[in-house]
Symmetry: C2
Subunit: 334 residues, 2 copies
């Protein structure tokens, strides 16, 4: 890869600069999340506080708040909704870690590793329902409806992904449809809520929703690349899980579609073996064939299309940071 990329610590530092225009709001959202997740039952309290810590980089609440500020200003509704989207995202992470049998996330034990799968399933449900409850404390049903619809699409995407695991012939369009549903839908929803609750007109809401969706596509393609290339130490989570679960991601799809029949067959058998030796051969092949670079190029294109959606917004620091986030998601290393 030719781009300069960041480790986890670098990523956090880079993001804190990008989140500067809404730093105070984000701190407020963090306090809100922490308060909401306090519980009189010590077991539930410990679990909820742990999930608050694995929640991570706060990209989704930041998108919601920056979008609001780029349109006009951040309101109390935005603070609530920012906490809601982070909680939904955390719920999906807790359930993802059960599905992936992952042990480490953000350099911390996952819930299933520290407790067990049952606890993870229930904690995820608890976070989902708490998020929906928080959304319902707003005056109108707009927020609930947007959150309910998007979360439902996220679950559909995850189901389609589970069902496609082991399917070497998953098409590029099917792959893109899955990551659109499981990842881009929620980032799109963040920007939609940010814009709507800041009073943006419909065209602006649509453009910012599209920004969020394309950004999410770029983000997920890079995430899948990092799972292939990255090292556990820098990303702070269990890696190589996609191959272990025989999940087709973009570089593999690109290589398969460009390979001669004999090569595709060899590729398929490497994919189906899935152990450390075969995985490492597979990654070398993806690298030398240029498939990794082509997949990264696709992510760059999505990020550029995302940034282009910002063109009609008035100039502001928030707008500038949204553009920089689009550059950040493709340069990140964690």
């Amino acid at each position: 890869m030719s781009q300069v990329r960041h480790t986890d610590a670098d990523a956090r530092q880079a993001l804190s600069r990008l989140f500067a225009p809404i730093a105070a709001d984000l701190a407020l959202v963090d306090r809100r999340l922490q308060q909401e997740l306090r519980h009189s039952d010590p077991f539930i309290d410990e679990l909820a506080q742990h999930s608050f810590r694995i929640g991570g980089k706060r990209l989704r609440p930041a998108l919601l708040l920056l979008t609001a500020q780029a349109v006009r200003e951040v309101t109390p509704e935005h603070h609530t909704l920012a906490a809601v989207v982070e909680m939904v995202h955390t719920a999906t992470l807790v359930h993802d870690d059960v599905l992936d049998e992952a042990d480490v996330r953000r350099h911390l034990d996952t819930v299933n590793a520290r407790w067990d799968n049952n606890t993870s399933v229930l904690l995820g449900d608890y976070l989902f329902s708490h998020a929906f409850y928080m959304a319902s404390t707003l005056e109108t049903t707009f927020g609930c409806r947007a959150i309910g619809e998007s979360t439902n699409t996220v679950c559909e995407g995850e189901l389609r992904q589970t069902n496609s695991s082991g399917n070497f012939w998953l098409s590029r369009d099917e792959y893109l449809g899955i990551i659109d549903a499981k990842t881009a839908e929620l980032t799109a929803c963040c920007c939609r809520l940010g814009a709507h609750y800041a009073g943006a007109d419909e065209a602006t809401v649509d453009r910012l929703t599209s920004y969020g969706r394309k950004l999410g596509m770029a983000f997920q393609i890079v995430d899948d690349l990092l799972d292939l290339e990255g090292e556990e130490q820098s990303t702070g989570k269990s890696l190589g899980t996609d191959l272990a679960h025989r999940k087709m991601t973009l570089p593999l799809i690109i290589l398969r579609d460009q390979a001669a029949a004999a090569d595709a067959e060899r590729l398929q058998s490497l994919y189906e073996e899935s152990d450390a030796t075969h995985n490492s051969m597979l990654v070398d092949w993806l690298e030398s064939s240029g498939a990794l670079e082509q997949a990264r190029r696709t992510a760059v294109e999505f990020a550029e299309e995302a940034a282009a959606e910002l063109s009609t917004l008035r100039d502001s620091e928030a707008k500038q940071m949204l553009a920089e986030i689009a550059r950040f998601v493709i340069a990140r290393n964690a």
Copy 2:
């Protein structure tokens, strides 16, 4: 046991008589559920239709509709909310079957048995989020808020139950608190929504909520009894799972609290062994000591208190059926 009790087929027949005043509404809710759970992706469609079939007796939507009719009349909001509570209930069943490693429910394979745990986790999430989305299509946030709050309490109850498994010294109050949260909260919510959306005054809403809560308590105590005594054939689901997961339920708690120290020790070692031989010895002991009968008595008291909450309602067929449901839940055998 001295009461006449029903098998699964009997239970369905008995319930269809009790649901007669709202039979047309319930059929409409069933169609609504089936429609809502159709999906263009064949895998998701198959899963959702399967979950619709394991959903079962429709007790919760029936409570919501009967309450509405006992107060005044069933409205379109009630139909939506009845579908919502059944979907939430089904989501919890799908996740429960993962936790319990159960293979059979309503004489059908569970989702985890026919597909796998991952699919069950995601399908449960999908049903939860779809339920919330449906609630958000109502005009105000009242329904979303009630559903969000109750679902959150249900998850808390399940978490507390998971954390208490293996704790032989779980107190009676802790047990009652857990079943209140994991079961009675949702039946209470059904009656609250039924009454509220029928325009009941606050005192009536409170009394009917209390009816739903006490009914739920009776229902869960009987469910726990059936898990000890029942046979897979009549209930149509995997049994003996409570002992296998070392879950303390009321008869065990009663026996423990009444036993002399030496007996309590022997009881504890039977509870901790938990295999077929020890379980059968344990059930015999619970029977001969009268602990099963005392637990059943507690269920009867809750059911009687539930029925008493109906006294201020005007006479109607719906009111009569609500009273009969209170009798039914303690007589059921499935």
